[in-house]
Symmetry: C2
Subunit: 270 residues, 2 copies
Amino acid sequence: MHTPRKTVTSIGIIGIIGFGAFGRLMARHLQPHFQLRVFDPDRPAQFDDAGKGLVPAEIPEIGACDLVILAVPVGAVPSALAALSPHLRAGAVVLDVGSVKIGPALAMQAGLPEHVEIVGTHPLFGPQSARHGIRGLKIAICPIRGRSAGRIAAFLRGVLGLNVILTTPDAHDREVALVQGLTHLIAKILVQMEPLPRRMTTASFDLLMQATEMVRHDAPGVFLAIERANPHARTVRDRFFTLAEEMRAHLDGNQHQAPSEAKAEALLAD
Amino acid sequence: MHTPRKTVTSIGIIGIIGFGAFGRLMARHLQPHFQLRVFDPDRPAQFDDAGKGLVPAEIPEIGACDLVILAVPVGAVPSALAALSPHLRAGAVVLDVGSVKIGPALAMQAGLPEHVEIVGTHPLFGPQSARHGIRGLKIAICPIRGRSAGRIAAFLRGVLGLNVILTTPDAHDREVALVQGLTHLIAKILVQMEPLPRRMTTASFDLLMQATEMVRHDAPGVFLAIERANPHARTVRDRFFTLAEEMRAHLDGNQHQAPSEAKAEALLAD
């Protein structure tokens, strides 16, 4: 299908689909620069306290938007696309913010009409790391269809001060499988070991606890998206678990005890 | 055996046994307050560059020291004690700085004459975390024999500005088995997974990498001391590895794929 594309010269109205923690964070930073429309049938009550001045909108109003941001969980992208598609105007840009990129890129390419441009993004931060502002924080951008990615990157870099990393869905998912895969895996294990010491700690353990603290309150869907929806995640965790097993075998076998250690164990056995 | 103890009213001369990375760090911070004697037959060359102004001494000179600090690896404590013991004067204080406390405390009680006081310490920092100074850093102190621990704690707190935590060898080893056991275990696994991303990273992953960076250059003996010489370490790592295996089973089993995920895997299989 070859449809003529209208060139979007400026973005005036942005629609945000999904108004969870991340949707609200974006709204706060985009509001000074754009007119916003927020769509989230599941959470109409949220608009009052956090979305003051935002317009809760009905899906058909999506036709007024120059840019539509999907801020729904990765698993909910296909159904959101189905609901949006008939209403998008020619030349509109659809952008997602999920923590994996291959799956949503394929879903957007398959589910959006040809007259719509597509950009994949992954802001490498959340409400926790952005609590003192977003300047200097990282965002990955994958151009998928059309030429709007460059203009969006320029805005994010020049106006919001983000550190923009241009990449592809596969390169992104490969790298992030390590970054988020390892962080969340380790954090999940550490949280299960609580109570952990807070007093007799080292600086490196404090950093480990800070890392854990940053992700432990993430929605359960985030961990599953990272582990299940990222096709490179399994290779990473297989390697992590295999190395852990090798380490266990190494430490458990070959137990030559120092004399002081044998005495210490004797004391504990008393 | 009941020997009368001379009360040490002031510490003038401190002997440091072992002049590795930690011995040198201590020397730098103690030098403004005490006369130092450094004993390390293995590293005479080190005195020239790092120990400027320090006096390389022979073991018999230990008799002049009011306080003797053992800064040797945990495994070398018993042989160091055997060499020192005949030369220690009555009322002298012997203090160790190892990352485990049960074993060295037993070794010092068994190996040092009754007329010597004993204090166990574990500075919860190293050359890496102390590179911007030691003020505010933590040190665990275990009184073992005699009453000098309180006076030493007062100096460390009042003069050096350390955060002093009074504890017992068993309480220390129990808590530190988690703190250092987990940090070093995780760091060892992550180092084996290098090259790890440095570009498309999250704040929590950056913290994880900082934690790893702080311990990855530790002498191999440190990891073994933590895992082998701490009698509580095995329980901690058993729990960590068991939780890791449960997590692996949980993530590998029960693989309900979302449609977008199945597509992504199909793409990768091409």
